[in-house]
């Protein structure tokens, strides 16, 4: 198996109107599927666009296959699926290869036609005459027709029905049969990570909350529920605590902090959703979003 990281960010900060990313270190390992997860505004798209060289870092850097993001040397080796296709709305699907194929060294028109057929994208339709699912599949067909090593997908499943979502997951798994291939995708639907992603990066308010394997995420965090008031000593350990009318509380905690909550609580396993939601609430309730949880 090929090893190493194909995509690395070091202290990447991207500032637009406010901070979109604050000094994030993210590694995407070769040969695996990495899922970026977090609520809207967490910085997922900003990260992917920075990695593609579409957004310039305010500070820090991103490298892809050892080259600075956006270098001509790597553009050819990345297949990209963003929220919009690179094809113009008035183009007919079957002519896209002729129009943009020459931008790539290894465009394979036969592969492109074959994928359209497999994904049931009508070749004679105009791009703006496709459904959301067909548009995503068109983007993937384009992305996979120049033999990329890395597949980058930004929220590929949003707006897809369950059948199309499953098709997409199968397409990614098929791409991953080659150990030299790498996929990185963003999503806010955490259930999609469970059976597809090998590595998870949880983003919240522009910082990395967690980075590792999915089962490690679940081993590290738990949900605590207590009937009484939140003990003062435990306050700092409660991430995104919610209170009910009777004074009971629910919070996300690190498993190591369990003892701080005393014996009269229920400790449950935390789902990926729990982790995303509680971190989001945590940053809403503090004045410096994300900064407390960056470690």
């Amino acid at each position: 198996m090929t090893t190493g990281d194909v995509l690395v960010s070091r202290q990447l900060t991207v500032r637009r109107n406010s901070f979109a990313l604050r000094a994030v270190d993210i590694r995407v390992p070769r040969g695996y599927v990495t899922g970026l997860v977090g609520p809207n505004g967490a910085g997922k798209t900003t990260f992917l666009k920075s990695a593609l060289g579409l957004l310039a870092p305010t500070s820090g850097e991103v490298t892809v296959l050892g080259h600075p993001a956006g270098s001509a040397a790597v553009q050819d080796r990345i297949g990209v699926v963003l929220d919009r296709t690179t094809a113009a709305p008035e183009w007919r699907v079957e002519t896209i290869g002729r129009r943009i194929g020459k931008l790539y060294r290894r465009w394979d028109e036969q592969q492109y036609r074959g994928l359209l057929d497999r994904f049931d994208v009508p070749p004679r339709n105009r791009v703006d005459g496709l459904s959301r699912g067909q548009t995503v599949k068109l983007s993937i067909a384009i992305a996979l027709s120049h033999d990329p090593e890395i597949l980058v997908l930004d929220e590929p499943t949003s707006g897809l029905d369950p059948v199309a979502r499953r098709d997409l997951a199968d397409i990614i798994r098929e791409f991953m049969l080659d150990p030299a291939h790498t996929t990185v995708f963003s999503t806010h639907i955490t259930s999609e990570l469970d059976d597809l992603a090998d590595w998870i990066v949880v983003l919240n308010s522009g910082t990395v909350v967690f980075d590792g394997m999915l089962h490690e995420l679940h081993e590290k965090y738990a949900i605590v529920r207590g009937a009484g008031p939140l003990p003062a000593a435990a306050r700092a350990a409660a991430i995104g605590a919610r209170f009910d009318a009777q004074g009971g509380y629910e919070a996300l905690i690190r498993v190591d902090d369990t003892a701080k909550f005393g014996g009269d609580v229920v400790i449950d396993g935390a789902s990926t959703d729990d982790i995303v939601v509680h971190f989001a609430e945590h940053s809403h309730s503090t004045s410096h979003p994300g900064s407390e949880v960056a470690a």
Partner: protein, 123 residues
């Protein structure tokens, strides 16, 4: 070997894969020198992540049942009859423990347990 996964059993997916591979080896479905399906093929076939299959296979390597041979994949090792016996005995012991625990939880007495085991034995 045909692996079937349940997503609602509460048993982690990698554990289900491991248990079914182990059973295939101990049960003779896979013989010494046979290759397990490749990590990537099995992941795609079962619709699970690569890491899930990797964890299962690594555990099987740890148990000494298969070896990760560079360039070939995961190969079934000679089945040590002692190890196979030990594994079967361990499985039996675990089943007994579980049976006793379940009986106690359901307040089922020893007489009934004995009777049910006997029924099962004679089936």
């Amino acid at each position: 070997m045909h692996i079937i996964l349940s997503s609602t059993s509460g048993v982690p997916l990698y554990e289900q894969i491991k248990v079914q591979c182990r059973a295939a080896i101990h049960g003779g479905d896979l013989a010494e020198g046979d290759l397990l399906p490749s990590l990537r093929q099995l992941a795609a076939q079962l619709r699970v992540s690569l890491i899930t299959v990797t964890r299962a296979y690594n555990d099987l390597v740890g148990e000494g049942l298969v070896a990760n041979e560079h360039g070939r994949g995961f190969v079934v090792k000679p089945i040590d009859p002692k190890l196979a016996d030990a594994a079967l005995t361990e499985r039996f012991d675990r089943a007994i423990e579980e049976t006793v625990a379940a009986a106690r939880a359901a307040r089922i007495g020893w007489d009934v347990v004995k009777e049910r085991v006997e029924q099962q034995w004679n089936q």
